[in-house]
Subunit: 312 residues, 3 copies
């Protein structure tokens, strides 16, 4: 593996989960592996978990993390080919990516979608430009259409908490006041499709995700039906994919409640809006795995960095 | 000691001062103590001295510091209990504090007061929420009502520079154009009350601090009287406590001058507005201990982190 | 050498180039030299290359870098002498520089010019104040009138790529939509004047640089004439020096093209606006040394830090 920018970069999810569990058991075992190696964490957008867990993962491998908020710390970056750069962008990605490659052995990038230009978002302009113009491996810390560090984390968390051989996992949409990306949902779907689980999706009409990602996964427009006998309810809001980036539905009856999920474990990538996406009664009990998911972010990132370092 | 969020967390200030002096003499003696341990420095507000000195202290103990400007780097944080989060705050402190605890062995927090809502400020909402919801020790890098790393620093500085057994220490208000917090003054008072010094406070009428903190300490409304035979004049502006957060007085006659302090040493936590709070003639001579105070911030922080690390 | 704030601080550029080449060959040879030493990187302005390369250089020497965006992270800084600080600046450079010196063994500073106040810019107010009031060595990461880390980098790059004993080097102005500083041009000129090269400058009328810097270097107002038989074309926009800080000329005929430079190598400090300053056809071929220049930033910075550390 050179880059890690999609769940599709995982060859065998079960062996990756086993390796991640081993790292979690001995996080400092490979503290010499990344010695004198540098990882650049480039943020085009806000971040809490990803920012901290990826630094922690790098430190566990002995690496030196260098963190940059691209917009605030450096220059506006132009991505267009052949552009006459007489606007507000001072540096082209061709230079920026190649330049950062001179100082960093790995570059990790966070770049959210526009949610207004579907074609641009689906082209994964930023992530692909870094892959094309950087000379070092690229790690996706959430891009326009995927959040593969989160997806790997979630697979690990489900593997750790499954009490039956083939648990039932539901990905459920929930209401939110703002237009949110599809990235977390997409990567979770791709991860579940690789695992030995019974996996279904629940969302209102008009909120079906990209068919090229959901593929054969059953999609319910009735949340109650989807939740039947669920072992894990993974919740996430996303804006409409069909009516791209729009918030056409904030129906509170889709909020996750203790009554609805019963004995199922509740999962969410965080941050989560309490009593909008999910009621307090779910988050404040053992039903919620959200903090354990946050913890597992470290080991998912550490596994990815370890594999890249071993391949340098 | 688990947390360090108040001067009240110091059991025996004299032994702490002795230990801090020892650290100052051999700052790298315990460089193995914090190895592979991480401290998260979370800033809700600006910081120069605290930002740098706490990092330096952590590095002297071999720790890895991770610094975050919460507002700019991550998400708006909700502190209310049971809130329906459909406003501009994307993450609840219950999750945020628990999540950061997954990546950091110690969390240090700076969160200034509102200076408009006295009850909220006095509840120490942010610091107490971190103590409640984080699973790791919390260090106060200046909260609504206290700045205990500064208070410990000041105690150390006075102990180092005292030329008599029981020096006279005056805390004097001085004018300022903006509404400033009471935190530094409060922690300084609490530190002086624990030391063997003659301690008095000087401030204009209407500027008395919280009686629950000043307690039996004499309060003069006549600066000249208070300064008589002073060995140390610690200066700080604060907004009115009685008429909470208001700037009702900018009387320049309260500015500290060379004439006023005579042979006394001048102290201030910095940043200080020259020729508003204190005249150049004081700061530009040996009367001023302000840079030595800044230096001692490292060893106060290092002592606190060392005690917490030893107790992990 | 105590400080490094100008190309004039280089005693013998040829021996420095030789040392930088050696560091580039074995970047980790001196990884013990800076152990437990801290460098503070203070940015008053945006930075990508300087931010990352100086951190990388420090890490290669085993140092701990601490990075601060002064304006956003800390307080507005007053530089005037004797000022009554009742405006929007909360801290005086006298304190700020002395305070940072308590935590950092070296302080590196970036502070751009105003481009409106020539006298202030030429006084190098910020850099000189740090030199005056800090108690530790100061490194210039680009100031009002110079960028000596870049100038040293460029000297190294030319030395590495020269194919004749005394190559011809042209510094050419190129158009740009914004008012840019003279710092990079000035330091490049000073570096070339110290090297054994044939050096000329090309710029439109009204764009001559400071005569105290250009000295005897020939200045052409005809780009074609200047480029004749050039081995290296170093390109940079600058605003007018005579009509200080003004953009009186954006003549596109001064843009660098493949046709114009022929076999010459193209150099630029980056960031560069494509198809405004230089056409894609130059940057996208082997003619361009810009990425190698970016790489050499690490070794220029590392040499400077090494020399300072050895002298502490």
């Amino acid at each position: 593996m050179k880059h890690y920018t999609s769940i599709e970069d995982i060859e065998d999810i079960n062996s990756w989960i086993a390796e991640a569990k081993a790292l979690k058991g001995s996080p400092l075992k490979h503290v010499e592996l990344g010695k004198n190696k540098t990882i650049g964490l480039l943020f085009f957008n806000s971040s809490l978990r990803t920012r901290l867990s990826t630094q922690k993962a790098a430190l566990n491998l002995g690496m030196n993390p260098i963190v940059m908020n691209v917009s605030g710390d450096a220059w506006g970056i132009e991505f267009g080919d052949g552009t006459v750069m007489n606007g507000n962008k001072a540096e082209h990605i061709k230079e920026a990516a190649a330049v950062v490659s001179q100082y960093c052995d790995i570059i990790a990038v966070r770049a959210f979608p526009t949610l207004t230009d579907k074609a641009k978002d689906e082209s994964e302009q930023v992530m692909n430009a870094f892959k094309k113009y950087a000379s070092v491996p690229i790690v996706n810390m959430e891009s326009a259409t995927g959040h593969p560090l989160q997806g790997l984390t979630d697979a690990l968390t489900i593997a750790e908490h499954a009490k039956v051989d083939r648990p039932k996992v539901v990905l459920s949409w929930a209401p939110h006041i703002k237009a949110l990306p599809h990235a977390v949902a997409n990567s979770f779907i791709q991860a579940m499709q690789k695992m030995d689980v019974e996996f279904v999706i629940a969302n209102p009409e008009g909120y079906d995700l990209n068919r090229e990602i959901t593929k054969e996964t059953p999609v319910y427009h009735n949340q109650e039906e989807a939740f039947k006998d669920a072992d894990f309810v993974y919740t996430k809001n996303w804006s409409s994919y069909e009516d791209y980036g729009k918030v056409n539905n904030t129906d509170p009856s889709w909020m996750i409640t203790k009554d609805k999920i019963g004995k199922a474990k509740f999962m969410h990538c965080l941050p989560v809006r309490r009593n909008v996406v999910v009621e307090d009664a779910v988050l404040d009990t053992d039903s919620a795995l959200v903090i354990e998911q946050a913890n597992n972010r470290t080991y998912a990132a550490q596994l990815v960095l370890k594999k890249i370092l071993e391949n340098l």
